[in-house]
């Protein structure tokens, strides 16, 4: 990024390393022409987030101005104030947190138990059971929408937060993921636990699960992404505003408050921020999770 006048072919002469100017330990990576491509790409990917945030703090009069501006004339938290005052957004947020928390806890317990059972225990019907699990991965979810709704309606579960939770208690993918992981663990560890007199459940709990942390983290992230962002099932199963999830609440805004963009975008920020922050904190695990979705799914 030097000025164009600087000759690029000039020999690189390092200043003698004096005691004041020690050469830095870590060599700086060289500037590369790839930046010219990557910088605009990054801008395009981040721009929608910038717009989302800007819209949430732009006064309503600005948004409907013609021609529209690129930058708000002043910043306001009006959208957020209206969001919290006029809607049940706090309730929806809590509902979503409950759905995701139960989904993750239940997924971790049920899928790792079943995955371990299929990987390590011998019992009649094991192959058939596992084949059944694999078969369910092929069944598309929209096929299940109608009968599941009817089933839940008959059980009196519709319109209840429970309706949003039950389908997220366990998944074939989770069982499969955990089974693959347990198959890769050396069996000797478990055998030594058995010899020391542990029951199967104790071996599972004290020996196997602590080793399964990376797989459990992956499963937790999958379940979080899926349950937090789910729209179609809550849309089908929940009509009562008190049991709305955040995503469902947002889309109902759209119909009733189409013009109230600062409120809508404030809602969008509230729905998106938790996962984005979590992503920034646990980026490595998230990326590993995405990769395993493609490679093992």
């Amino acid at each position: 990024m030097t000025s164009p006048a600087a000759p690029t072919s000039a020999p690189r002469v390092r200043p003698p390393a004096s005691s004041l100017h020690r050469p830095r330990r870590r060599r700086r990576l060289p500037f590369s022409a790839w930046h010219l491509l990557l910088l605009p790409v990054a801008a395009v990917f981040l721009l929608p987030f910038v717009e989302m945030f800007l819209a949430s703090v732009t006064p309503a009069s600005d948004i409907n101005r013609i021609p529209p501006g690129f930058w708000p004339s002043r910043f306001t938290v009006d959208g957020y104030a209206r969001l919290f005052a006029e809607s049940e957004v706090v309730r929806w947020l809590l509902n979503t947190v409950v759905v995701s928390a139960v989904a993750i806890a239940s997924h971790l317990v049920l899928c790792s138990l079943a995955g371990y059972g299929f990987a390590r225990l011998r019992f009649p019907g094991r192959e058939l059971g596992f084949l059944g699990i694999l078969a369910t991965i092929m069944v598309p979810s929209q096929l299940l929408m109608i009968p599941t709704y009817v089933m839940f309606a008959k059980l009196g579960l519709v319109n209840d937060l429970g309706a949003a939770i039950v389908p997220w208690l366990a998944s074939a993918f989770g069982i499969f993921l955990m089974r693959q992981f347990f198959l890769s663990l050396p069996a000797e560890l478990e055998e030594s636990g058995r010899i020391d007199g542990c029951s199967r459940l104790q071996v599972f709990w004290f020996v196997v699960l602590p080793l399964a942390r990376p797989a459990l983290a992956t499963l937790a992230i999958f379940t979080l992404l899926g349950s937090w962002n789910d729209l179609v099932w809550p849309l089908v199963a929940i009509n009562d505003e008190d049991a709305f999830t955040l995503q469902l609440g947002l889309t109902t805004f759209q119909g009733t408050r189409r013009t109230d963009w600062s409120l809508l975008m404030a809602g969008n920020v509230v729905a998106t921020l938790p996962l984005v922050l979590l992503f920034l904190l646990a980026q490595k695990q998230f990326v590993a999770t995405m990769a395993s979705a493609g490679l093992k799914g």
Partner: protein, 305 residues
């Protein structure tokens, strides 16, 4: 090897004790009940429903294959199928290409690479509902950023989501924004698996970087491409959330997809039987596409070998 053989022999010789059987089922039964109860059972029920006429309240009427015969000539079904295929045909190749390009660009050791990767990956965690609302805002003909940029560049304004010819394209663009991370991660992992020695050897033999990419790297990526292609196709054929959160099927039904049609048929028109038949039609279509892609790719791979 011998330990494995021994273990196998032992397992063949030994029979389960009732205790072991009980323990095994104890481990797998809870999850199996949930997954089976929420998948296999409803899938079978949907098949039964698809041969019936039912609004959820009145008694069910068996209509044989009438629902299936109806859907083959129903203009709503045909247009929904067309939009779904159109979206798939735009989204899948674009997603593969974008992922490959991004992975190539991100697969280097330069400064700020972590920042660039983060920028591409973050949209992946944003829900379709939020993406949809954001899309409606960005592509608003009156005050959206996209038209505003066009205005500054003195280019003609567009109708975007309000134009029946452009709405599906806008939805494709925003799906690409949200999903780019996925293909990129897969290709990044695959690129890092390409053996260095092979690339070096090709270089020494005088291959240019285009030749290396096309003749050495690309063949190595082929299996991953097939797999991700099938996966993305399955995803694309099930497009619903983003349509619901942007156009709700409009304008003039231009973004009506099959799953959207299943949803309106079942939960707005209360035609549970017909809705199930459409859903099964989609399932058959999905299976057909998966099998076709896998077979052609296998054949192509064999031919090159």
């Amino acid at each position: 090897m011998t330990t494995y053989e021994n273990a196998r022999r032992r397992s063949v010789r030994r029979r389960w004790t009732p205790g072991e059987a009980l323990a095994g089922w104890g481990f797998v039964a809870p999850a199996l009940l949930v997954v089976g109860g929420l998948t296999l059972f409803p899938a079978a029920w949907a098949l039964v429903l698809s041969f019936r006429k039912w609004d959820g309240f009145s008694p069910q009427v068996g209509v044989g294959t009438q629902n299936y015969r109806d859907l083959l000539s129903d203009p709503a079904v045909l247009s929904a199928a067309w939009h779904t295929l159109l979206y798939t045909a735009m989204f899948v190749p674009a997603s593969l290409l974008l992922g490959l390009l991004l992975a190539t660009a991100l697969n280097r050791r330069i400064r700020f690479i972590g920042f660039y990767r983060t920028a591409v990956f973050v949209p992946f965690v944003v829900s379709a509902a939020a993406t949809g609302i954001l899309t409606t805002y960005l592509f608003s003909p009156q005050f959206g950023l996209v038209n505003n940029v066009l205005r500054v560049l003195h280019l003609p304004q567009q109708g975007w989501l309000e134009d029946s010819g452009q709405a599906l394209v806008v939805i494709t663009l925003m799906s690409l924004w949200g999903q780019a991370a996925f293909t990129t991660v897969i290709y990044l992992a695959a690129l890092q698996d390409v053996p260095h020695e092979t690339v070096e050897a090709a270089r020494i033999d005088g291959a240019g970087s285009l030749q290396v990419t096309w003749r050495v790297v690309w063949p190595q990526l082929r299996p991953v491409t097939t797999f991700v292609g099938v996966y993305l196709t399955l995803q694309a054929l099930q497009l619903f959330d983003l349509v619901y959160a942007t156009t709700r099927g409009g304008p003039l039904d231009a973004t009506q997809t099959i799953v959207y049609l299943v949803w309106t048929t079942a939960f707005q028109k209360l035609q549970f039987g017909y809705g199930s038949a459409i859903a099964y039609g989609l399932f058959v279509l999905t299976l057909a596409v998966t099998v076709a892609v896998t077979v052609t790719q296998r054949r192509a791979a064999r031919r090159t070998r």
